[in-house]
Symmetry: C2
Subunit: 412 residues, 2 copies
């Protein structure tokens, strides 16, 4: 595996003061860390990022979640309620290219680090903020979390069985999905800044970001004039058949294969009939066009299921795939975790950590010149307090100790 990873240096020298917590903000700054930026988390000396723990007041009991969104970062513990602590962060902001936060509405202003304050300190800074709802929204003061953003952003309304209740997509698109759009915009600003030196305030709301991922549903709404519906395993409004989940052997909860035929490739149907041993149906006018098959989709689904039930999902995927028909087994986290091919290409890597045990986890999935970005440890709380303050601000040991004794920075 080590041959397949390297240190990405695209953002070498870019300094980020990272005041984010949980996932929406941290996923964004982490993506910049994968690209080589120096991301310094500013954390509360007592408890740190609440993403470090599963329960309130229980420090560091969830390293897994924290690792995911804080790999390749540094941690500096500062008491922002202490005047000298706040001044120290302002000094760091003076040196930084980017500052990011995703506190509850109003909190960054109460801390004394509003955009108006920060731009005075560093007019060239890119000041990035994630909130639940947009400035100007009737809900702009409301708290949000991933599920709230997803509910209000439409994703629940299009997920689940057609006759069932709205359902949560099992992925944290409200958080990480938002973080990725922020990262793109920050990088655009950073590119231009090389030329102009100009700073900007960049804001995204999690509810607003959901519309970006809902666009196929808004296309359906545009075409039909009605709310996009839930489709279970299908995609409502897309008139392909066959398309959907088909049950496989031995029939456990995730033993399904997704098979689809594309609207752009009418030849998929004949190929599929050959794979399932039903060449007798090639050319049968009952099933000739996609329109015919949509009309008889129950029949078509049963023809395919009669075959898939005799196959494991992996075999069904392989046989369909080899025949040029898009097909995918429904894989769960355990199966994905046990699939060594992800490690072979650096998509999964093992984090070696100074305190917690080794942990294999997804790394940045985009490869550059055939190599993945090297996974490094998530930071222990306050691990880099001394080194970062010394590197960024030139303070010596005595000055750092003085800050510690005054409670301005963490004791580590």
């Amino acid at each position: 595996m080590s041959d397949n990873v390297t240190d990405f240096k695209f953002l070498e020298g870019v300094k980020i003061v990272d005041l984010t917590q949980f996932e929406a903000g941290p996923s964004c700054t982490e993506s910049l860390a994968w690209l080589g930026a120096e991301v310094v988390k500013i954390e509360n000396p007592r408890m740190g990022d609440p993403g470090r723990r599963l329960k309130a007041n229980m420090p560091d009991d969830d390293p897994y979640y924290f690792h995911m969104f804080n790999a390749n970062k540094k941690s500096v513990t500062v008491n922002l309620k202490n005047e000298e602590g706040l001044d120290l962060v302002k000094d760091m902001i003076h040196e930084a290219d980017i500052m990011m936060e995703n506190f509850a509405p109003g909190a960054i202003e109460r801390l004394g680090l509003s955009y108006d304050v920060v731009r005075q300190i560093n007019p060239g800074i890119i000041y990035a903020q994630v909130k639940g709802f947009g400035e100007g929204s009737p809900f702009e003061k409301n708290l949000s979390f991933d599920m709230i953003a997803q509910a209000c952003g439409g994703t629940f309304s299009v997920t689940g069985a057609p006759d069932g209740p709205p359902t949560r997509p099992g992925i944290t698109i409200g958080d990480t999905g938002t973080g990725m759009l922020m990262a793109i915009t920050i990088l655009g600003a950073l590119y231009k800044r090389r030329e102009t030196g100009e700073g900007h305030r960049i804001q995204v709301a999690m509810q607003d970001a959901m519309l970006h991922y809902m666009r196929v549903n808004f296309a359906t709404q545009g075409r039909t004039g009605k709310a996009a519906q839930r489709g279970g395993g299908k995609v409502p409004g897309i008139t392909n058949a066959p398309m959907g989940l088909y049950p496989c052997a031995p029939g456990d909860q995730n033993d399904y294969v997704y098979i689809m035929t594309s609207r752009a490739n009418p030849e998929h149907w004949d190929r599929l009939l050959s794979v399932i041993g039903r060449e007798d149906l090639i050319g049968n006018t009952n099933y000739l066009t996609p329109g015919d098959r949509v009309e008889r989709s129950d029949e078509v689904d049963e023809i395919i299921s009669a075959w898939t039930r005799t196959q494991t999902k992996q075999d069904a995927m392989q046989l369909m795939g080899e025949a040029g028909i898009p097909a995918g087994a429904v894989l769960d986290t355990d199966e994905l975790n046990n699939d060594k091919t992800f490690e072979d290409r650096g998509v999964m890597q093992t984090m070696a950590h100074p305190v917690h045990h080794d942990f294999k986890m997804p790394a940045w999935p985009v490869r550059v010149d055939g190599k993945a970005s090297r996974l490094k440890s998530s930071p222990v709380l306050g691990e880099h307090t001394d080194t970062v303050i010394s590197d960024w601000l030139g303070l010596n040991d005595a000055a750092i100790d003085a800050l510690k004794s005054k409670g301005a920075i963490g004791p580590q």
Copy 2:
């Protein structure tokens, strides 16, 4: 609204040769167009991007889908099977900063535009590719679409009712989710390139990209050692109560409100009891700690539902939100489309198009200095053939006409 939008110029002057189709590739290049890059789609003169149509051989019958992923781009029609057409694209590649493609595996090489060919033409180019499965995966030659990537990337396995089948998240995270990770990486490469002039080959597989959005599930897998499960409206493994969907009046299919109490904020529970008029339960030892409430979650859910059933989802969201409890109504595309506040902040904008009727759609949701990026038309097939060839390559009208008469480029 016009006050709230502006032309983003972060990537002004960046030239992109865009050979992408459908969504995973186009969503990526579109994000760069939102930031101000000049994105030129190279399209087949006869039919163009298959994303322009809902059915095979039916040109331009789905402008809605196409608008979503091709706003703010240009279209040049070139016959890549014609030698002079291919040479023309090579000349454009020579002038470009980025080239991107998401054809089926092997297709770009068969077209004669492999990375080895392209880097000879332009060693400084950023050459970006999206495929269904990673180079080195046993499925690297397989076709993929959004649902295939999602099935094989784990998202189906964690979506749906706990006792039901795997379910498709109703959003195209397989496509757009992948495109966003590619955009971040391209922008990293572009930033460094200002200094070094170096080109790179950047690759992402849709299956691999899904792991990035599945990370909370992989954290659960890490903690429990078992495959992450489906939770309906809940998040399995997160021990908050109350948390979930609660039914609202009048009881239609999307009349639910999501209410959650955060592990980091134990005060949410008392606030919630006040909102629902059950101050009598504040301090009741049956429900005192999150642990108590998880143990009695059916009771807790019923206490809350007794109140939510008397409220519309909008009222429930507002009352909870004002009291400082994270809450979100389940909104559908029609409700979101009719909510004028999205237009007020430029998150939804109306596309004026030279051929199709006006269409309101989601724009880039991230705002810079309080303004959104201006939505411009998606291109008519071949709309910019003459102007781009003239601007980029300096060909005059006679030369362009000659290419047309030879069938190398489209006639518009």
